[in-house]
Amino acid sequence: MARKLRVWVDQQLCVGNAMCEAIASHTFRLNEKRQSEAVDPEGDIEENILEAAENCPVSAIFVEDAETGERLFP
């Protein structure tokens, strides 16, 4: 079983580069302000979610293990 993740995007930092949406399209979606929101932390496999976080040009994506609270990114 894949572990559950807590994923969020800091709206103060997000510049709407949308690379996260391209890499993990079920987890991240642009809102009406064209900023990314994590709409479903189980939308994509963990590897893709972490790749999306890694590729955010302004490091606006945060990922934690939902049960242990362990920070997985950054």
Partner: protein
């Protein structure tokens, strides 16, 4: 009714002080039709963010989609060279829209992640030290010539995997490529020399990296050719783009940033109390206060209404970073240079899908320079009060910045 705004953006007073002119536009006519250059000037922060985030409405394929002549005007006998420049520029990934832009950017994106760029910090630090050691012996330097111009080339040449013995050649080519942002009547000759020189220099390197890939940037682009995302011409042009984009912009961050400190002794004194701790927020404020890139152009893909004006399909639309970053609706006390400003969500790197690919690298270079200057040369002061800027609408670029170190 406000007095009509003069329409020449290249007059010496607007080049010397873009803030008054674009500030007037921002206040009185934020979506302004410039008759002389046939373009819309968009100057408010909110509008700029909206425009850059709605990339479907504003094409970045400017060279492909803009049928109008070069501006400012060029020598008529250089029109053939201008065609060459247009075809060259059109192959840059930044001159594409989705879906091609995304596909091309993805080839390069993983090379430029914040973590990957952070790994270059020790190299940047050493390069800054090498340049400042050389300056220290003389007791003086021209920040433009001796620090801001060579530093980014040292970094990019290393990223390209260029041997040290060939850096001088790359630097000469890089300096010719800088003519893209200038206004000289005869700028096409040096510019095309730089472009052709880049193609001649980089092409054999691509062949070599296709056979023996390494962890350098040319290998990354060559992998895009292998995957069928890039043509050979696109690989060559985008290598050249990296050299240019990482060069002109960083030059201006360093020079304009240093100048801001020279002109604000209180902020210089504050920085010196904790150079390591303040370098990060100081770099952000330098990026906001006197932004390296003044403006960028798009082409409307359809009729778009903005603030009661109708921008027609195929119209030129220019958005002004220098004005948006001083918009009082976005930044309290916007004309103050305040290195502790927080929050500081400036748009010096643009926004949206075309947000600067090299933003983290620029930040690392800016931070290391600011920190090193404050630590090593606490008495740094300007040699002259006369400042001259390149006649460019795109870049906020000083011609030189001579300083005494002690």
């Amino acid at each position: 009714m406000a007095a009509p705004v003069p329409n020449d953006m290249f007059t010496p007073d607007v080049i010397a002080d873009p803030y008054s002119y674009y500030g007037r536009l921002r206040e009185h006519d934020p979506v302004h039709w410039n008759e002389k250059y046939e373009l819309w000037a968009v100057t408010r922060f909110d509008d700029l963010v909206w425009l850059t985030r709605n990339h479907e409405l504003f094409s970045s394929a400017v060279f492909k989609n803009d049928p109008r002549p070069a501006y400012p005007a060029i020598d008529e006998s250089d029109l053939g060279l201008y065609e060459y420049v247009k075809n060259y520029q059109a192959d840059q990934f930044i001159q594409h829209d989705r879906p091609e832009h995304l596909e091309m950017r993805r080839v390069m994106h993983s090379y430029f992640t914040p973590r990957q760029m952070e790994a270059w910090r020790p190299f940047v630090k050493d390069a800054v030290k090498e340049l400042l050691d050389a300056a220290e012996e003389k007791g003086e330097m021209d920040i433009m010539r001796d620090l801001a111009t060579p530093l980014p080339v040292m970094v990019i040449a290393q990223m390209m995997g260029v041997p040290a013995s060939e850096r001088g050649h790359v630097r000469e080519l890089a300096e010719k490529l800088l003519y893209i942002g200038r206004g000289e009547y005869d700028r096409m000759k040096p510019l095309t020399e730089g472009m052709r020189g880049m193609i001649d220099y980089v092409s054999p390197l691509v062949d070599e990296r296709l056979t023996n890939p390494g962890d350098d940037f040319i290998s990354v682009l060559a992998s895009g050719e292998k995957k069928g995302v890039f043509t050979r011409h696109e690989v060559l042009v985008n290598t050249s783009l990296l050299l240019l984009a990482g060069h002109e912009t960083t030059i201006n961050l360093i020079c304009n940033g240093a100048l801001a400190f020279l002109q604000h002794p209180d902020q210089w004194a504050l920085l010196k109390t904790d150079p390591g701790g303040l370098a990060k927020s100081a770099t952000e404020e330098c990026l906001r206060y006197d932004s390296p890139v003044k403006s960028i152009q798009r082409i409307a893909t359809q009729d778009v209404e903005m603030r009661g004006k109708v921008l027609r399909k195929a119209d030129r639309v220019r958005w002004f970073i220098s004005s948006a970053n001083r918009d009082p609706d976005a930044f309290p006390n916007p004309t103050a240079f305040d290195i502790t400003r927080h929050p500081n969500q400036h748009v010096a790197f643009g926004s949206g899908t075309h947000h600067c690919l090299g933003a983290t690298l620029a930040r690392v270079e800016g931070q290391e320079v600011i920190k090193a200057l404050a630590e090593r040369f606490p008495n740094l002061h300007a040699k002259s009060e006369d400042l001259e800027y390149q006649p460019s609408i795109t870049f906020r670029s000083l011609k030189s910045l001579p300083v005494n170190l002690h």
